[in-house]
């Protein structure tokens, strides 16, 4: 039976009627048509479904939508500001950190969460923060370099 929940997504509040067995990932992609968050494995093993939930990056495929009632969610679509792409997004573009792009939203969100905690992280810390986001295309290096460049510029 559907339950009415209220979630704030990318700064905007939504009232949604959801079945308990739907995940936050399902609801974001289907009900809110925010398809920037991806489904790579559905079991919390690849990180392509990463969203920021109440300030922490999580696998949205392992969160029931109903658990997110009253929560604040940030997806990749919410990262860009009124003046355009977020510095991380721009750095990913400039540094060649994007190939197929499927892991990119999750990577950027994990990185943004890291930079909130530590604006100038070292390489080891960056790699640890990304260790739940799998990438098969880039070998991770240009992703790390993009994040380092944002840290160095103090834009996180």
């Amino acid at each position: 039976m559907k339950t009415l929940i209220n979630i704030k997504v990318n700064g905007r509040a939504w009232d949604l009627a959801v079945e308990p067995n739907r995940t936050l990932l399902d609801v974001l992609r289907h009900d809110l048509e925010l398809t920037g968050t991806k489904r790579g494995c559905d079991l919390g093993e690849c990180g392509s479904c990463t969203v920021i939930l109440n300030g922490k990056p999580v696998n949205s495929c392992l969160v029931l939508a109903i658990q997110a009632n009253g929560a604040e969610v940030l997806t990749i679509e919410g990262l860009a500001g009124p003046s355009g792409l977020h510095p991380l997004q721009r750095a990913f573009v400039e540094k060649g950190a994007i190939q197929c792009g499927f892991c990119t939203p999750g990577m950027i969100l994990s990185a943004s969460s890291l930079l909130q905690k530590n604006p100038k992280p070292g390489e080891e810390e960056i790699r640890t923060a990304l260790s739940g986001n799998l990438c098969r295309c880039t070998g991770y290096q240009k992703i790390v370099e993009a994040i380092q460049s944002v840290g160095e510029r103090g834009q996180g």
């Binding site: 721009r90 190939q99 792009g101 499927f102 260790s131 990438c135 290096q141």
Partner: protein, 793 residues
Amino acid sequence: MSEYTVVNSRAPRVDAPDKAAGRALYIDDIRLPGMLYGAILHSSLAHARILNIDTSRAKELAGVKSVVTSQDAGLVKYGVSPARYDETVFCHDKVRYIGDEVAAVAAVDLETAMEALSLIKVDYEELPAVLSIEEALAEGAPLVHEEYRGNIGAQVHQEFGDVEAALAQCDVVRTDTFRSKRQDGGFIEPQGCIAEYDANGNLTLRSSTQSPHYVQRTIAMVLGIPIGKLRVIKPYVGGGFGPKVAANAMEMAACLMSMKTGKPVKMNFTREEVFLYGRARHQFVHTLTTGVNKDGTLVALKNECYLEGGAYSSFGIATIYYAGSLLGGPYRLQNMKYDAYRVYTNKPACGAQRGHGGVIARAAWEQQLDRIAEEIGMDPVELRLKNMMEAGDVSCNDLKMNSLGMRECIEAVRDGSGWKEKKGRLPKGKGIGMACGFFVSGAGFPIYRSDTYHATVTIHVSEDGGTVHVYTASAEIGQGSDTAFAMIAAETIGIPLDSVKISSGDTEFGIDLGAYSSRQTLMTGHAVKEAAVDVRRQILGVLARELKVDISELDIKDGLIVFKHGRVDFSHVRTRYSKEHRGWQGLPKGREPLTFQEAARIAYLARGTIVGRGKYKPAELGGTHKGAAVGTSPAYGCSAQVVEVNVDMETGKITVEKMTDAHDCGFAINRTSVEGQMQGSLSMGLGEALQEEVKFDQKGRILNPNLAEYKIATSLDMPNVEPIIVESHEPYGPFGAKEVGEGAIMPTIPAILNAVYDATGIRFQELPLTPERVFMALRAKQQAKGKNPADES
């Protein structure tokens, strides 16, 4: 300072901003009105006769709109190469592996579709299964395909020169057997598709594919749809690496059910289904016998290979050739014998994966060459340099190296890694190793017999506005091909990159064989260049007539018309343009340089819409021996790597600490993209060397069909790579460019193996080098030493 304005730069990719913003649409992001959701019923047994399929209860379930089996799909056989069409959409008489497709349903939502699957009743008669090369080849083994005796789906026998005679003359002859494991593509986006059949009988299939062209052809053939009424469109793809090249049963089922219901049908693979479908890297067992002279001259190679192919041929019919032909270079070798057997088993079919059949063959041989180097007391780098082919050489199996920057690659990694200081001098547990490799820049022939062009491209010039739109059926799957082609078009025409739009991956845009065999930069790049030259010629031709100068006096650079000698009065062209644009702000005026925008407008007014056309087909390549087609290519990319490892001598766990990679891509159209392909290839190679293996139980079920237990490299496993681009200027490549996408992985596994030997004194002849495998070998070595304390290690 580059002589080029656009190519050879680090231009950001044209698709990157959309991907960074989460706006790029992949197949599962697309929804069409009235769309149904489909699901596949897979076989739960590795080998069984189908006695009966009862779909009646599934059909009755509310919300189910279509249930299909082989009765509906028909029995037209398909595969990848016409030489081996051994699959049907659905199984009809028997199932050949756990995962084999038996039926499909389409329903109003996925939940209903899944419930319908559970209502389909299949009566099986279980048959004994063969789950390994040994089991399949055993006397009296059950046959996976009745027509293929002994379960040998394909065999190859080639000889160049006289290997036995040559080996008899050699000072040193070594034989080693090397065994790899079945592996997976590991792309992060699972396959998916949406089929849409309209009221005019036109079928559009959107699919996460590497080759809309091959998918279109295969589906048209199998379902009997006129090919002109079938359109295949590729949205953004989240990685391909090989398994997404061929048409799959899901695509066909979706098309079939859309035709039956008149509604769009979406289907996806779960991650588990990605593994069940497979079509990824075969298991290879190579027995290599190599003979050299004591001065290090390579004389002869005998290569016997068994491939564990799974239940169908798929791309394996090409793999079996590559596993031999790709050892024909990059060393001078007069005598090579190759015998190979691709064995059917009751497991998911194997196909092409980055580097195709060349990767494991290269791993086996580059390690053996190191062993030989040690035996004759020669530095492994010197052994490579001594035997290296040079530009212009032709291999014993007719592979012509028109450009080959192999020497530069080897010297670059040798010098860039500190090889001379480190080799043999690192503390116990640390090691350094090197290896080489090379790969085709596109297969010399399409996978089906045909005189077709490999790529056709059109470039439409906007009637006003000075932009151009490149139309290509090629597949941007993450490698950066859209950007490369936009750059080639921009450079060739002489306009800035942001004046170029590109649309790709749609069979309506022309012919393109797709993203496989590392072909697109060279082949489609040529077609783009030709179309761009055509655009220039048409526009400058009109301008020359208008300005009464010879066309050779004109050039286009940076979006401006350049007059090579003296001033030319173009004021009447400018005036005409301004008159048409009264009210517009910021128009070019007076004696400011004439713009491409104005010239293109004039050309349109003279000729109508300007369309440049380009096409590419390689020249007749290769020898006349059987299988000569596979391995031939217009050009070969090559590379060398040096890797440093740290082996935890107590647990056996290997950490790759540093990688230096030099790749000759002929000419880098986009330097950042080339580096990205190098780094990505190396991360796949590292994973395959140390961590990746698809595991089965005794019933033929995959034990690890998920990304937790099938272990691709994480950000903590992959070190930094020092990428060095070598440019040998390939004469047959557009701007001198040739491949990087697959060749870069070639040296990775053997460089790691050779480094591990340097660290531990152990030669590993089996992959992957998991901590347990390494530990057991270290312990065995320790125990052997214990028995014989005089042994040096």
